[in-house]
Symmetry: C2
Subunit: 408 residues, 2 copies
């Protein structure tokens, strides 16, 4: 990829994504194989006035080897020094930038019990850090760049170099970073969210009824005083940022006790290296009461065993079928893209800022108000080109506001 | 470099170098650009029965950017989480393996005051870890692999790919890893040290008088009950290991109060990206009382300002001019190789195991016995093909045991 375009993309992550302010600490999470891009992001962060940029290197390949070969007991421990690492940077108000390029299959074949156990101890140990990012007390932003393994997964039938080029082009298009001035394009993009957000927040529906031709028929209660969000977000300090590059979704908080009916996924779910395909689940009083999958049903089951909250919903998101990502019709095997291609739900933890004063309340107060809590947050897609959403007000009035896969 | 030869070299580091034992924790320090080799070492460590292998990634390129662009205050702080990181792995008896490939010039042009300050806070913060490695309470081993920048520095007149190949070949030759069975070759190599070590330890010289045609004329007292060491080392738990790959030196502990005369360096010293050239220093009662350098004298001066101990000697090492590295006649710009090419001294901290019961004594007890203490340890070469060493016994008897650059 050409240097100038890479620099523009890095600037989008730093300036629009994390919105790095002068004097601020920045943490860049990146795979060792992507060091060339992390170094560009590092320079951009210093250009933006960062006090210090800390590189947090990961290596999916050696992580896989660890899962395959380390002694079994290590997956029940999360080292205290890593908790302290988060606290050190959290206390200094760091902006967390993450560059994702992972091979969707990099954990395929790894013992799912090891994954589940380590995921659980990690989630518990980093709970405070997660609470800070999910409540916008800290700003963060994630973008993606291609890796050869990921590119070959998305485009299996063409040579690697060509697949890499094609994935770069798709990412730039999805991220609206293919123009001359991505930062300006994102300002326009963000403005377009406003009208729809204003409408949904004004309507303040009590319940949504969602149906698709695939068989989804879900009656989903929303919490009282829910807030629809999307596009940009605003940190507690008032500085706007974009957690996800790209972003196309409008999302809010379902009531953890009010989901009833069936949801049929419209896209496979890539999870810990396994692709869960042809799956669906049925809810009663907010709880998953049955589920099945044509492929990797065990991986799906492992989600539900995390904790009680993993069996309830924490997010409902609407995406127009006409979004650039949806129109592209590519399965990216990567939630960052796939969740912006189609309407989706998330099992697990809700975003406190999807509820009025949510970030000021204790976990217990939020849960009492219908906000789901969990150690996990797993998005899965159910949107289709024929999807329909009816908004039902507290007085029973019904309004169809989404039809044939798009906002009316 | 061919896969099989890489694997043999990785095995040398794991089996002979660190001598990883079943159930042991292993830490691999490696540059992100060398991940391909670190992953081979990781597999070899698991083959050796490691409980867990922790990857500790560094990136000289972004470290350089940090020195150039971060806020000035960050160089006076060493984060507590990193101290805890060392303690976590030290407490669990980790073996530390390090893969070095750094461009000798990677810190060239960086503010030497920043380097000095950060080096000082790092040394103070990691003092406990250093004490554990220097006293063999923990095993560790360092080897090197080529990087394009390093290869071009050593072989500036040939294309990069050719320089890489030539440096690989030189490294394998120096490391005695160019044969069919490097681990067996190292057992033979180690045996060859024994005779000379036995002689020097039996003679128990009080003082060495070292002279070279370049002008070195140093009278150097050794501590009472000093121990000559070399080749392999033995951990406190009795497990043998090789801290350095390659290793050609026999070394012992000078008396911190008894060095008198002039030492003229025979090779440049690469330090923090600067090459100190044509330098010499004069000692009186163990202390550096004057020094000069034709190039980068300030970098030399910065060493002496670290602390009192940086102006005194912590190691004297004898290397036969006929060693494979010496015979090669290559300036590697890397202490690991250059210190094994020629006889050398080290300013700063002495190795406690170069003194009887040294590892059992407190720092104060050691210093009282003549063992130098410092936050730094800087090797520099003075050996020449005409070097002569006279050993002087406590009763004044003189024995020439090293002449024309080699052991007699």
């Amino acid at each position: 990829m050409e240097g100038l375009q890479l620099k523009k993309y890095a600037e989008l992550l730093v300036r629009s994504g994390g919105n790095v302010q002068p004097g601020q600490l920045v943490v860049i999470g990146c795979a060792v194989d992507d060091a060339y891009f992390a170094r560009i992001v590092q320079e951009c962060a210093y250009d933006a006035g960062a006090k210090e940029v800390v590189m947090n290197w990961i290596d999916p390949a050696s992580t896989r080897t660890r899962y395959l070969r380390a002694e079994d007991s290590v997956f029940d421990e999360f080292p205290q020094w890593r908790v302290d690492w988060y606290k050190h940077h959290d206390d200094r108000g760091a902006v967390y930038l993450h560059i994702d390029s992972s091979d969707p299959d990099y954990l395929a074949g790894v013992d799912s019990d090891r994954l589940r156990r380590f995921s659980k101890v990690s989630s518990i140990a980093t709970k405070e850090h997660s609470a800070l990012t999910m409540s916008n007390a800290l700003r963060w932003s994630v973008c993606a760049i291609p890796s050869p393994a990921w590119a070959k997964k998305v485009f299996p039938d063409i040579p690697e170099a060509e697949a890499m080029e094609k994935l770069w082009a798709a990412i730039f298009k999805c991220a609206r970073a293919d123009g001359a001035d991505a930062i300006a394009d994102w300002q326009v993009h963000s403005g377009n969210f406003s009208e729809r957000l204003d409408y949904l927040n004004k309507m303040n529906f009590d319940t949504l009824r969602i149906t698709t031709g695939l068989g989804t028929d879900l009656t989903l209660g929303l919490v009282k005083n829910h807030i629809w969000a999307g596009g940009g977000d605003v940190g507690k300090d008032g500085v706007p940022f974009y957690p996800n590059i790209p972003t196309e979704e409008l999302f809010t908080m379902p009531d953890r006790m009010r989901a009833d009916g069936r949801v049929v996924a419209s896209m496979p779910l890539s999870r810990q290296g396994n692709l869960i395909e042809g799956f669906e689940m049925t809810f009663k009083d907010g709880l998953v009461v049955s589920y099945k999958a044509e492929k990797n049903e065990q991986t799906l089951a492992d989600i539900f065993t995390m904790d009680e909250g993993a069996k309830r919903l924490g997010e409902v998101a609407l995406v127009a079928d006409s979004s650039p990502i949806g129109k592209m019709g590519i399965l990216f095997y990567n939630t960052l893209f796939d969740e912006n291609a189609s309407s989706h739900l998330a099992l697990g933890k809700a975003y406190p800022n999807n509820m009025e004063n949510g970030t000021e309340m204790t976990v217990e107060e939020r849960v009492a108000a219908g906000c789901n809590d969990s150690f996990t947050h797993v998005d899965f897609m159910f949107g289709t080109p024929d999807m329909k959403v009816v908004g039902i007000a507290a007085d029973g009035t019904e309004t169809v506001f989404f039809e044939n896969g798009d906002f009316i």
